[in-house]
Symmetry: D3
Subunit: 289 residues, 6 copies
């Protein structure tokens, strides 16, 4: 059992953070792996607890593995080019069904089950109310888009109404044609558009490691400039690069701090936000240190 | 070309309706057939035009044929009992993916393509923010629910924000378990909870016919009491009964009028709302004549 | 009888105009001739219908023929100089009594008779709440003034309260002395001060004609620059010149468009505002085409 | 010169009244005689000063002598029956022109001339926005009406906008036909409908006298019950009876107090409202003493 | 160092309390002893932290020992009767100077020193804005009063303005004469009038003890009915009785819970409010368990 | 008895001032002498009457003589240096107790006794909510401060709530240490920070005299420039200099006018504010004449 002194010290430490984050926006990106293991109750609880003290949380998710599973089931072979999914019309229909009709639904359901009084989670895709407008990335990739515009007011209105948005990363281009979007990028675009205080990437690693083979070599703080240097220098794993670039772009785009934290630690989000030492890797602009 | 006199007479006729419906809510149910033929541009235009003069439109849709098509594609044989779909866990997952991830998406996209300035359609399932709470209908049917509670405020907030909600008829029970819901019934429950001015069922018929084989035998007006008499008397086709019962229940539950109109006539919704003679069959409480 | 298709097409055409004009101000000037024939029910209906969908209509009227009739009755010979009424103290008293106490009253009464639920027309003279401040035009004309200031807020407050102002064109100078004002000019000054969307002159002609003897030579659109050219070139009738100049001044002063339409066509105002082809002549700044 | 002590005592006395009347409504009726002598600057000043400290003043006026003068001028012989003007269509047109187009105008102009910054007076007739609805009194009288309904909100909105309404006592019946109204009665009806704090009748006498031949026999306070007794007992002059009955009806209808004061004393209104001893005769319900 | 798991568990535990108390009022009474040891930084911090997450804290204090010290210094012998201070005019002046001009000042200063950005503490006596109206207790006691009325709106306005009120327990009777008030009673009256969620008495004991000589015999929870039984039964120390009675009266008067906690434990207030187990003794109505 | 004409003339004179000062702030400084004679009922009445018509009055007071009396009573010899009180820690404690706990209390009580409906006076010291922040004047003077910052919003909020603030001139420095402040200076700082319309110094003289020995040599108006000349020229009594400098600084700092008036004349404040001739000496910037 924790002594009253320790309890008091944690509360005295947490309360200023609660005050500071009240009314601020936080965008949380769930990686595919995290979702594969099912959004555990702890994350849903964290979102609800933070919401209860006025933090405006937006969850953004992708869902690569689940899409592949359904594609295989209906007899379509997933195709990739330079790590990006080649998305023809038939594939897009499946991607959209899985992201919007399955993964998004499951996240909404998990949060609503944990909500004490009444359900608060609302699922959205980027098509809803023009949340995410895209431009095509590359004709060879088919219906894959980069975010060109975010209508952050859609999320703001939902948050003002006390709801918790969960966003599936499908968007429409100017003609209304749906496209698939990389979820790390979509989360960044949303965070920048909202003027978010933080963007948090939940991953299956402790954070950014100095030595990818040594989990104890965690880099706790790094500036966006240093991070861009690292990306150039090949000292980070290729798979991590899009996420790291999204972090650097987010803080350079005005987000207060970006975080890569370990989604495998229960309540990692709460610990990151409400304690002095945090958890994982924090990225900030040099100018903001 | 229409003469100025005729033009003026139509406008003089329409303007009082526009004033009368401004700020009022209208729930429009699209039947499976209508959707099969694709929501044409005309309906999307009607919703947008009505919205532009202050009418608060909510679209509700089902999607039986489309669900069956996907079930067949993944090798599941659709099962029915007394006309209701037997919905086990695997079936439910498919139903949800198709309704939320495909049909709802397509309707949202069609409306957003027609919107002049910015997209306004927002897709929702009854699980979002606890919009539709259900109780199971019958253990033998599996995850099929009757609506026990509607959080109409969720729709009101979206409408207040200038958005056009499109609702897929999935709901969660008290434990958070998703269930499939009959779309005619879901539309009625939503209309009653919103205190809607009108509920409009778009069908593939001119309305309620005195003689089902004679399209010219349209019943233009009928009271809910008379309608219930007809339902009991077997003088209507079995397939029409759930819809007719929903109409009677809607007006007895406080909705101003219920309408069964021909979804095959372009702009049927606009004609119904803004002209003296209307179109199709109107159901009203005797006390309200 | 008009077919559903035609009905729908007119409604589809009108609704965007209704949305566009909702909340906008329209100033309508009634010429003496129009009033001589009595404000027909159609114009009162148009004002009420437009008001019901949020258009903010202000009626402005003069009343030359009626003033002459009363002057003759009390044994005063009307005097004119360069087409403007010479207005001594005794004449002014009669002008004011006729405009404010008779014509304005009759217009208010006609609108209020047509109003379904409750009377909404309110008569005002430019003296009320300092609506129109004037400076004397010419000592030889006596109490005839040009508008130097408009307190548009007076009209805005009435419109905000849901009322329909009808303005008689008497104003006071800085010392409080009443003056007679040319009604075409007064209407223009009010429209400019309100930032009106449109100013509409109801006349006893189809609009501006290329050939004054040929009603089929209607000029449908003309820029204010071209119009000023025409005024200089003597190709228009002398009687029309003040009205044309007021139109050019109005649009150059910020009013969206000016219109000269045929007050003899029932519902001309409604047709002008809510159909694509309009009616009569529209004047607009070149820069706004 | 008044000593500081006296000055202070008057201010100490007046300030609580100012606080008490701030935001309250006062209806002031001007008799024909008062108007004959022209609304002096003092009354206009009183209205403006009271308005400046938040009192909501409404002026109501008749104008019998002036109407007769114009009727004579156009060769119509005024007709009366039991002291009420017989009002045929032609007479009504003159009555309306004189009350609305002349007397009301002159009162508005006088107040606006005294207003320091900007004109605040607004003239209204009972026809405007349905302010006064009437029912005909007697077929033999022609277009003479009793007030059956007052839309006090019209005045409230003008007062909220900082304006000072001046009301001419013409009203319309349910069909929209204008009628002449007795001004004492119209003032009472307005005061009751507004829930006025006071109704003040400005007359050419010191108030109600015990002995009509002795101006020193002023009755300072009397209950409505006692007043009704006096009216029955013939101890008051016949000409005073309608005014006295209006006073009794006003306070029994909820107006705080009614006052008959001497309009010949400059600033009589100010003295009545802001000093302990008042001026003239005050009528109050017994229950309110 | 506390593990992430423990940290998370404390935060997960505290957050629902923070949400629950946000916007609620808490009255905290400081006993004389507590003040004698000076309000430590911890209490000031607790008040500020709770305020930062929306809890509306009001501090109430007495100051018996300090009053005695000043009385002695100016040569007045403190007099008591049945434990209450006999308060003549000269004594009252000293009591008021010490409570309002010294103790209250010191508390305000301590809180303001801890406030990060700007001072928020505001000192009040019950005389200010009529906060506490009293009736005399007993002529023999002189100027000692019982609270008969609390203007809780005064505190509400300060709290709405983001300030932290600190109340010295002097009040005025209906004639404006100041009186001394028992601080335990004053705190209760304030808490009841505010509809406070909690009243907390900080004392120099762990709470209410079963055996006054055994600090380990703490009673953690007791109903107001049971507490009243204990008071009657003489099983509690005489000195504790007024405080216990105030606790019972507070909860029976509508305050959610009353607490007697150990003011000697740093951050006792925070621990009481934000942890499941609390600290000290909680009193609640039986009906509320 | 004053005639109706005189009464009317005073009211006609006063009402524009009432309108002009409504919503404006007035800071009134009471000198020690004034307080020695007790704040008479007249001043309390003036404050309440002015408040009743919307004037926002703030009273500021010092209390030198009373402090000396208490210091003597507890055996401390008052020390002065260049006319300023040497304030060690023990003296400060007494000063604070007397100003905040006695004089301020007595003023609050006097106003509240005069208030008709409910108490409105609220006592504050400059420590409350950081109202007055100071910097030390001179180490040899001990805890004596000059005002460096005023949180005028604290007073504005109280005034918005309908309360009448009474300010004791103690302030805290940046570290939270209390200091004594010269009351003339504190009043000036508050008036400047509030953007007050007037600052009024109540003194025991008729105002600024040309010849200090001749009360009839009152200077009624003087510009701040001329006043600064007078201060330099030694033509004014040394004791008056701080007050005169505060007046010049106030108007140069943006206060409309400063006034030195005779606190011995009952209702001097009311006469000054609401009559044309005023009372005492008015100081204004040359640029504002």
């Amino acid at each position: 059992m924790i002594s009253p002194e320790h309890t008091a010290s944690i509360l005295v430490e947490a309360l200023p953070y609660i005050q500071r984050f009240a009314g601020k926006s936080i965008v949380v990106k769930l990686g595919g792996a995290a979702i594969d293991r099912e959004l555990d109750r702890a994350l849903a609880q964290d979102v609800l607890l933070l919401r209860s003290v006025g933090v405006r949380c937006v969850l953004v998710h992708g869902g690569g593995p689940q899409v592949n599973a359904v594609l295989n089931r209906v007899g379509i072979e997933p195709q990739f080019k330079d790590g990006l999914r080649v998305t023809d019309e038939q594939t897009l229909e499946i991607v959209r069904m899985v992201l919007v009709g399955k993964i998004n639904r499951d996240l909404v359901a998990t949060i609503n089950k944990e909500a004490a009084d009444e359900p608060v989670a609302v699922g959205l895709s980027g098509e809803d109310a023009g949340l995410l407008t895209v431009v095509p990335v590359d004709p060879e990739l088919g219906f894959v888009g980069d975010v060109s515009k975010v209508r952050a007011g859609v999320l703001a209105n939902l948050l003002d109404d006390g709801l918790a948005p969960v966003v599936a990363t499908i968007g429409a281009d100017a003609s209304g044609q749906p496209h698939n979007i990389n979820a790390d990028e979509a989360a960044r675009a949303i965070a920048v558009a909202m003027g978010a205080e933080k963007i948090v990437y939940l991953t299956a690693a402790p954070g950014l490691l100095e030595d990818v083979n040594d989990e104890s070599s965690l880099i706790q703080r790094i500036s966006s400039e240093e991070l861009r240097g690292k990306i150039e220098s090949d000292s980070v794993s290729a798979g991590m690069i899009p996420k790291l670039r999204a972090c650097a772009d987010a803080v350079d785009g005005g987000v207060g701090t970006a975080h890569i934290i370990d989604g495998r630690v229960p309540h990692a989000l709460l610990i990151e936000l409400l304690t002095d030492r945090g958890i994982g890797t924090m990225i900030k602009r040099s100018a903001d240190w």
